[in-house]
C-alpha cells in the first residue's frame, strides 16, 4: 500500500487539470471585447450572437452533456422573452430584475415539463419536445390579447441599465449587457459541468442503463438539468426581448429550435464552447449570405451542416480537439517518447 500512497496524489492532479482554465479560454473571452473597437457599427449583431450563444449553451447542457435531444427548446426561450417583455410593458422596466424573473418563469415551465422529459428517451423524447414547442407557439398565437399574436408584443419600454446606460441605437449597451450575462452564465455552466453533477450527466449520456445500476437517480438528475437549461434559455429569450424592446412569435418558432440545434451541432456538442463558436459562425454567415442572397442563404447553411457532420462528426471544436491531439501525439513520437 505504501507504494500507492505517492500515486494517490495523481488522480487529484489529473482531475484538477481537467477543469483548470486554459490560456486559450482567457484569450477567447478577452477577444469578445474586440467588437466594441473593431465593429462599432455591428454591435446589434454582436448582441444577437451573444444571445444565441447563450441559448445554444443552455441546449448544450441537456443535449451535449445529458444526451437529451430536444426539438422544442425555443419554448423556454419564448417564455423568457414574453415574460420579460410583459413585465416591462406592465410598467417594470428595470432590466436585471426583469431578466431574473423571466428566467424563473421559464425555469418553472421547465420544471413542470421535466417530469415527462425524464420518463422518455430517443424518438418519443424528440416528438414530445417538438409537440410541446408547437403547442406553446399556437397558444401564444391565439392569446393575442396577451402576446399581441402575430403582430408581436408592442410597447416594451426598458429603463436604462443600472439607471445609467440607455439601450442605444448602436447597441453599445445591448452588447455589453448580453455579453456580461453570457459570461456570467457561462461561469455557472462551467462550474456545473466540472462538478460531480456534471459527471453524472455525462454518465447518463454515456449509458442510461448503467446509471441506476450504480445507484444513480437518473430521472431526478434529468429533471434538475432540464430545469436549469430552461432557466438559461429563458434568460436568453429575455435578453432578446429587452435589447430589441419587442417580442415576436418567432421567439417560440420551431425554426428557432431547429436553428439552435444546428448551431450546437456545427460548433460541437458537449464542449461548452461549441454553442458559442457555432453561434458566431452561423450568425455571421447568415448576416453575410443573406445580404448577398436573401432568399437562398439556407442553401449554404445546409451545405455547411452536411460537410461538418460528414467530416467532423463531433463538430468544429471536436475536429480541432482531435487535430491537436494527433499533432501532439506525433510530436511526442518524434521526440522518441512513446505516444
Amino acid at each position: 500500500m505504501t507504494a500507492s500512497i505517492g500515486a494517490l496524489g495523481e488522480p487529484h492532479a489529473y482531475l484538477d487539470v481537467q477543469s483548470r482554465w486554459r490560456r486559450i479560454e482567457i484569450a477567447f473571452w478577452l477577444s469578445t471585447l474586440l467588437p466594441f473597437v473593431l465593429f462599432p457599427l455591428h454591435l446589434q449583431l454582436a448582441s444577437q450572437i451573444a444571445i444565441t450563444a447563450l441559448f445554444a449553451l443552455s441546449l448544450d447542457l441537456i443535449l451535449g452533456y445529458a444526451g437529451i435531444v430536444s426539438l422544442g427548446h425555443a419554448a423556454f426561450f419564448g417564455i423568457g422573452a414574453y415574460a420579460a417583455g410583459l413585465i416591462a410593458k406592465w410598467g417594470w422596466g428595470e432590466p436585471i430584475s426583469g431578466l431574473l424573473m423571466a428566467g424563473a418563469i421559464a425555469g418553472a415551465a421547465g420544471y413542470a415539463t421535466s417530469f415527462i422529459i425524464a420518463r422518455v428517451r430517443h424518438l418519443p423524447l424528440i416528438m414530445i419536445t417538438l409537440g410541446l414547442g408547437l403547442l406553446l407557439h399556437e397558444a401564444a398565437n391565439s392569446a393575442s390579447w396577451l402576446t399581441g399574436g402575430s403582430d408581436g408584443l408592442q410597447g416594451v419600454r426598458m429603463w436604462p441599465l443600472f439607471g445609467t446606460f440607455r439601450f442605444d441605437l448602436y447597441g453599445y449597451t445591448a452588447y455589453g449587457y448580453s455579453l456580461a450575462v453570457l459570461f456570467l452564465t457561462f461561469l455557472v455552466a462551467r462550474r456545473l459541468i466540472n462538478s460531480p453533477f456534471g459527471l453524472a450527466l455525462r454518465g447518463i449520456r454515456e449509458n442510461a442503463v448503467r446509471m441506476p445500476a450504480i445507484g444513480a437517480p437518473s430521472r431526478s438528475h434529468i429533471r434538475t438539468i432540464y430545469t436549469i437549461a430552461a432557466v438559461i434559455a429563458g434568460i436568453a429569450g429575455a435578453l432578446l426581448a429587452q435589447t430589441t424592446q419587442t417580442v415576436s412569435l418567432g421567439t417560440l418558432d420551431f425554426q428557432r429550435s431547429a436553428d439552435v440545434l444546428v448551431i450546437l451541432i456545427l460548433g460541437g456538442a458537449g464542449r461548452l464552447y461549441g454553442g458559442i463558436l457555432g453561434a458566431i459562425i452561423y450568425m455571421v454567415a447568415r448576416d453575410q449570405l443573406s445580404g448577398m442572397n436573401p432568399q437562398y442563404w439556407f442553401f449554404w447553411i445546409g451545405l455547411l451542416l452536411v460537410m461538418v457532420v460528414v467530416f467532423l462528426p463531433n463538430g468544429i471544436l471536436g475536429g480541432v480537439a482531435q487535430f491537436t491531439a494527433s499533432w501532439r501525439a506525433r510530436h511526442a513520437a518524434l521526440r522518441g517518447r512513446p505516444s
Binding site: S4, P11, H12, P196, G198, L199, A213, I214, G215
Partner: protein
Amino acid sequence: MTASVLSTRGLQKRFGSLVVAQDIEIALPRGVRYALIGPNGAGKTTLINLMTGMLRPDAGHILLGDEDISALAPHERVKRGLVRTFQINTLFPNLNALEAVTLAVCERYGYAGTWWRRLPAYRQAIDEAYEILVSLRLAANCYRATHELAYGQQRLLEIALALATRPKVLLLDEPAAGVPRDESAELFAVITGLSPDLTVLFIEHDMDVVFRFASRIIVMVGGRVLLEGPPEAIAADQRVRDVYLGSKHHG
C-alpha cells in the same frame, strides 16, 4: 441458522406463454459465494433482472435482509446494497475508469446532485475510487477512455463500478463472459478475494470455475430452481448430471 441477506419468495415471471421464473425461493446467507448454473434459457439472467428491479415480477417478493424491496426502483435497491454487473459490458464508453468509478462513489455519498462545487474538491471520493482501481489492477490505465481499454480490463471495470457502490450482495452475470480461460481464473481470484462479509452470486458456464470458486451452487432449469446445495452434492446429483452436466467429470 444465519439470517439470509437476500431472499425471494414465490417469484413468478412469464413473457406471454413462456414461463421464465416459477416459484423461485432462494435464500442467500451472508458471505457465501454462490454459483447460479443451468442451461441456456433457464432464467438465470432473468432472475438477476427480477431481483435488481430491472424486471417487475408477476408475483412474489424480494427481501433484502428483513426489508421487502419488491416495490423499489433499481437505484434504490443499489442504495440498500443489492448490486449487479452485466454479462455484456454496460459501461460508460467515453468516461475513463477513474471518472466512472468516482461517479459511482459520488452517487453513493449523495454528492452527485451537487452542481456548484468542483469535482476535485471531493478528495475522499476520488481516493476511494482510485483505491478500488488499484485493488483491481486498473490504476495504470485509469486515465484512458473506457472504450480504449482491453476487453478483460473492461470486465474488471464492470466489477469496479459495482464495488464502488459498497454492496452487501453482489450479483455477477457471467463476469468472465468472453474472457480467455487463463484470464478468467485471474478474474475469479479477484472475486474470491472480495470482503468475506460480501455475499456473491455469480452466473458461470465453466464448470471448472464453478466448482473451484463457489461455496454453494443453485441449479436452474426452465425457470425453476432444480437444486441448491454444496458443490459435492451438486456434482453427485443424478438429475443435475442428466439435464446439465452430461457425462463430463469434474475434480
